[in-house]
């Protein structure tokens, strides 16, 4: 069994310039995540959750320390290499879904595969399969503005999962959803985590999400406050 972590963060710090000074968003973060984990970064606003997700997703790089994702050091990647990493191995889910407004549901989900130069047949098969996972195959030709919030987020999940990424990063995925839709979406993600062995990493402060997580990393003021593994019994209770 491969015990090499899929994500490894060593002494990761991140500072942003603010006016004449600096704001430290992350301070010496040391964490690692294994394949197929269903984990969450939990903490109040400004605790550094999204910043950490962005670094793991190679959208940003640490000011200090080393972030290694899929065996690649984020700081050492060129723009092109980090784009390739995201395109092939990392899926993103955003709070406000970020669906491309002029594309249909099908085209939104297909987008990542277009970037991978997959054939039309391959794309169609993969997109319909992804839409089946989220139960939206009948809405393939609808535009995002015709979808409800829950449906929109499910499309975003299908778009993130269609390329079968090793890592899925979800930034406050349930923040814009009602309780019922939040549970539907979370169950769906849990199922995909089990079936496809995808590592799910959430940033959240939503209690509903926490109930589904197998591991909760508590962040406060840019530091890891607690790294909590949830046992099956705890989760059941």
């Amino acid at each position: 069994m491969d015990t090499q972590p899929i994500i490894s963060l060593s002494d990761v710090s991140k500072r942003f310039p603010v006016g004449d000074g600096e704001f430290t968003a992350l301070k010496n973060i040391n964490l690692s995540f294994q394949k197929a984990e269903f984990a969450g970064l939990v903490g109040p606003s400004g605790s550094g959750k999204t910043t950490l997700l962005n670094i793991i997703g190679s959208l940003d790089s640490p000011s200090e320390g080393k972030a290694v994702v899929m065996g690649k050091s984020i700081s050492a990647l060129s723009h092109r290499e980090s784009a390739l990493l995201r395109n092939h191995h990392i899926g993103f889910i955003f709070q406000i879904y970020n669906l491309l407004p002029v594309y249909t549901v099908f085209e939104n989900v297909e987008f990542a595969l277009l970037l991978q130069n997959r054939s039309a047949d391959e794309r169609k098969k993969a997109v319909m399969e992804a839409l089946d996972w989220v139960g939206l195959s009948s809405m393939a030709h609808k535009r995002p503005d015709k979808l409800s919030g829950g449906e929109g987020q499910r499309v975003a999940i299908a778009r993130a999962m269609v390329k079968r990424p090793a890592i899925l990063l979800a930034d406050e995925p349930t923040a814009n959803l009602d309780a019922e839709n939040a549970h539907i979406v979370l169950k769906m993600m849990k199922k995909l985590n089990k079936e496809l062995d995808t590592t799910f990493l959430f940033s959240t402060h939503d209690e509903k999400v926490m109930k589904y997580l197998d591991r909760i990393v508590h962040l406060r003021d840019g530091k890891v406050e607690e790294d909590e593994i949830i046992t099956t019994q705890q989760a059941a209770s």
């Binding site: 993103f92 407004p101 085209e107």
Partner: protein
């Protein structure tokens, strides 16, 4: 690149009204540029064609002492028509004065072979008339001197010895053309009449070459080809084209400004979309390419839209011509009643290439900013 075109097409179609407003402005620019260029080309061709038909023929054989730009050379600038002057229409030019309504007007008195066919001047009217000295003049000359068909006017001229003589001439025809130099201040009579009036029998100032004319050296005469004679018109045309180019550039600049503005606004408003593209795995270069292609595609759409309404319009105008106001002809500008625009393939292709390249450049300029964008800030829509 194919992907950029696919995505750009979808984005533009999806953007709806915003796209079609830009396309409308740009297509209007396309059509106006081609319309004006076509009109200028039509005007130029018409000017050349008319000048050849009414004045230059296949070239001029000029007396060596005659300089068309020096009126003083008329005195000595004539000579005996060579015996072997085949396919040449002789013209003898003398100075004269007419007295319409008691006014004194200097004219160029031109004697031409009444049976000639090299020029379109209606000289057969000189042959068919019973008047003692029949004359033809152009509409401008007639208007400026208040002369009508059938009018008699006193003409004074000098014979070969310099003696003044005078007689009434009868206007037997008034012709209409666009070549001012055959009209303004010109009185055309039969060369035989002029020979008799001046005593210069068998002499000419210049000879107009017919279609069959083959040049050979004639002593005391020199040949100026049609091309050489037209060189002045060509120079005027190129100057006219350069000045009209300023107008096209202004039009183009307005359309390109619309694209530039849309692109700047688009990049600002679509920050989250740009962030999403990057998060989905597009390189920044690909995103820059996508936005550039989007801008360039406006010009492709504009070309298609422009063709839809432009081609029928151009065909119609090329057939029916564009009527020019009478006032512009009265001003002495060589304008036909109607200008028939000429829309050459070179003009159309050239305009398309120019607009597409220019649209691509102005799209690329703001799109370069994307390459420097922080994807995280873009995803949050926080860039200013």
């Amino acid at each position: 690149m194919k992907l950029a075109f696919q995505l750009a097409y979808k984005n533009l179609i999806g953007a709806g009204l915003r796209t079609w407003l830009n396309v409308a402005v740009l297509s209007f620019c396309f059509v106006i540029i081609i319309f004006f260029n076509g009109m200028m080309d039509g005007w130029n061709e018409q000017a050349k064609r008319d000048t050849i038909a009414w004045e230059y023929g296949n070239g001029h054989v000029l007396n060596d002492k005659y300089d068309p730009f020096d009126p003083f050379s008329l005195q000595d600038g004539h000579g005996q028509i060579p015996a072997d002057a085949a396919h040449l229409t002789p013209i003898l030019i003398q100075q004269g004065t007419i007295y319409p309504d008691g006014r004194m007007v200097s004219v160029a008195l031109k004697g031409i072979d009444a049976s000639q066919t090299s020029l379109e001047l209606p000289t057969q009217a000189l042959r068919e008339s019973d008047a003692e000295i029949p004359a033809i003049i152009g509409t401008r000359m007639a208007a400026s001197n208040k002369l009508e068909k059938g009018a008699e006017v006193l003409l004074r001229w000098r014979d070969k010895n310099g003696t003044f003589d005078a007689a009434n001439i009868t206007i037997v025809d008034i012709f209409e053309n666009n070549v001012g130099s055959t009209d303004n201040g010109q009185v055309w009579i039969s060369i035989e009449d002029l020979w008799k009036m001046t005593g210069m029998t068998g002499e000419a100032t210049l000879m107009v070459a017919g279609k069959e004319y083959v040049h050979k050296e004639l002593e005391g005469w020199h040949f100026e080809s049609q091309k050489a004679l037209l060189s002045d018109i060509d120079k005027i045309i190129s100057t006219k084209k350069a000045s009209s180019g300023v107008l096209y550039m202004l039009l183009l600049a307005i359309a390109l400004l619309a694209i530039f503005d849309t692109q700047v606004l688009s990049i600002f408003r679509r920050q989250k979309e740009i962030g999403t593209y990057v998060s989905l795995g597009m390189t920044r270069r690909q995103v820059v390419g996508l936005f550039t292609v989007e801008g360039a595609m406006y010009s492709i759409f504009a070309m298609v839209v422009g063709c839809i309404y432009g081609i029928p319009l151009f065909i119609y105008l090329a057939k029916t011509g564009i009527a020019m106001p009478q006032a512009s002809q009265d001003m002495g500008v060589a304008l036909a009643e109607k200008i028939f625009p000429v829309y050459g393939i070179q003009l159309v292709i050239g305009t398309i290439i120019l607009v597409v390249i220019a649209a691509t450049i102005v799209s690329f300029m703001p799109a370069r900013k994307i390459a420097k964008m922080d994807p995280v800030a873009a995803l949050k829509g926080k860039l200013q």
